[in-house]
């Protein structure tokens, strides 16, 4: 199967995503948008409390200003496409990935499987934080998991172990 194009594969490759520098990741949480298509949608930039997400018009793709981003995760909670993730490599024992998660929520402390953009289990992940729908500003539950540093740009979903 042709995996070179996101219009065919339904997944982005790390090179196709605007990523913060390693230094920025180590400073603390920062938002990464995996939203390459021009569709009419603007809640992320409208709700960002510090104006860190640029979008010229309703149909333009978002650009995150990593220096201005405070890592508050509001955009993760609002994004209707569940396409924004929060990355944070300030912990000493790995990196945290905060992802939108609309399935049966895990418990804090639970060990789960970290899945890549194809849903393949690639790393073990520890649940650090869970935000329920009720707690979410934008009605989307989120889960924060800690993964080994080398997986910070690859883990984009989780699966609870049975």
């Amino acid at each position: 199967m042709n995996e070179t194009n996101w219009k065919v594969s339904g997944k982005l490759k790390p090179g196709e995503i605007q990523l913060p520098s390693e230094d920025r990741l180590e400073e603390g949480p920062v938002a990464v948008a995996e939203c390459p298509q021009q569709i009419p949608c603007d809640p992320c930039s409208q709700h960002c409390p510090v104006g860190a997400i640029d979008m010229e018009g309703l149909n333009d793709t978002p650009t995150v200003n990593f220096e201005a981003c405070t890592g508050c995760s509001i955009c993760v909670q609002y994004c209707p496409g569940l396409a924004i993730f929060l990355l944070d490599c300030s912990p000493k024992d790995g990196c945290d990935v905060t992802l939108p998660f609309e399935f049966d929520l895990p418990q804090v402390g639970e060990e789960v499987e970290g899945l890549d953009r194809k849903g393949k289990p690639i790393a073990s992940a520890t649940v650090k934080d869970v935000r329920t729908r009720e707690e979410s500003a934008g009605d989307t539950p989120t889960v924060t998991v800690r993964v080994p540093e080398e997986y910070v740009n690859r883990v984009r979903n989780i699966r609870r172990r049975k």
Binding site: Q38, P40, D42, N59, G81
Partner: protein
Amino acid sequence: MRIEDHPILSFPEEEEVTFTYEGREVTGRTGETIASALHNQGIIELRKSGDKNRSRGLFCAIGKCSSCLMKVDGVPNVRTCITEVREGMEVEKQSGFPELPSSERKLNPGPIDSEKTEVLVIGSGPAGLRSALTAARAGAQVKIVDENPFLGGQLVKQTHKFFGSSEEEAGQRGIGIGEELTEKVEKEKKIDVMTSASAVGIYEGSVGIYVNRKKFVSIEAEKIIVATGAIEDTIRFPNNDLAGVYGAGGVQTLMNLYGVKPGSSALMVGAGNVGLIVAYQLLQAGVDVKGIVEIASEIGGYFVHAAKVRRAGVPILTNHEVVRVAGEEKVERATIAEVDEDGNRLEGSEKNYEIEFLALGVGLSPSYRLLHHAGCELTLDRRLGGYVPRKGPRMKTSREDVYAAGDVTGVEEATSASLEGAIAGADAAITLGKGGKREEETVEKAREELAGMRSGPYYEGIRKGVKEVRLERD
């Protein structure tokens, strides 16, 4: 089978009702349809076809196709997908071409009631509800009819968050938008609501409504807003009529509205937004989705919807088509194959899947028939989904008193439907002498927002189609 736990929805325990199916007692829940109650009991085959005695099950689940017709209390051809189950009901499987009941009382609807309204809205999805609210706010007397037992159209099952502009409720789940609109309509004193009421014809000066399968009402209306939505398409492959081949929206109705799962494993056909969204919602309902089969070489829906199902482990098989489905009485397996760029099947590429159902998210066609009956000028535009009315910039059709808004004018998003509804409702009020400056502003603002929604590359086809079918009037 009932969905027990759902990450977004809760299905409160409703009171049980007992009815009979083929003479034996079965139970359902108050507020659900006959088809939903039967599905929960594992009864998937609802009738046998007329000439070839083929199995028929639920397809669209919103009253638009004829797949689910059954005999109810002795009356044949009842659409069991929109008829609520009631205590003591007698439901029978229909075989072949049914005989009409011998009792004349069951068929004779009795005297026809006459009613009057200034604005009649047919359909209560986003376009219908928004048009009704806009016209009523301007002071017009409005009546809404919908053939489903509830208001909200297809919003009632959209558990995902909508896109669009933050000014137009982007980021809200469709179900929430439906609930809000319905609540506003119910509070609005100038709006009268008739559910389980089918508009069967638009005549000169009146609209015929068949209410609760019991009586006819003739409604005299000065302005008619047709917001009848769209019907799901099917595609050709052997046994595409087998019970267990559903429209994707039909599956969505069953699981998200009534909390009933049509099976535990499935294939989705079509990687447009409907196919992608419903595949994701099937996962949320605990269904094992084996894959999404897409004949085109690219995913047609939004990338973000595709990415959600991909990272949940569902493959999207572009350049693939359904070869056939097979099973006794209902779907048990499906065969798919790869196709080349010209659509030719590649030899040896066939793959088999053991599945309990197949969902078709292969497109929608506008439900134009009432407009046709009304004599409104129609035109075929593939970009808009099929036959659509020619209409002016304020949603007026070629007939002075008939407006059209929402998917019936071209299959798009709920947000665009709602905006078109606002324009139609405002203009209907204005031409009735009710509206003022506020309504003119509503029209202007909605038109601007519509243009904004359609301005991106994803909507190029829609943009061109809308322009093409425009009636240069108003």
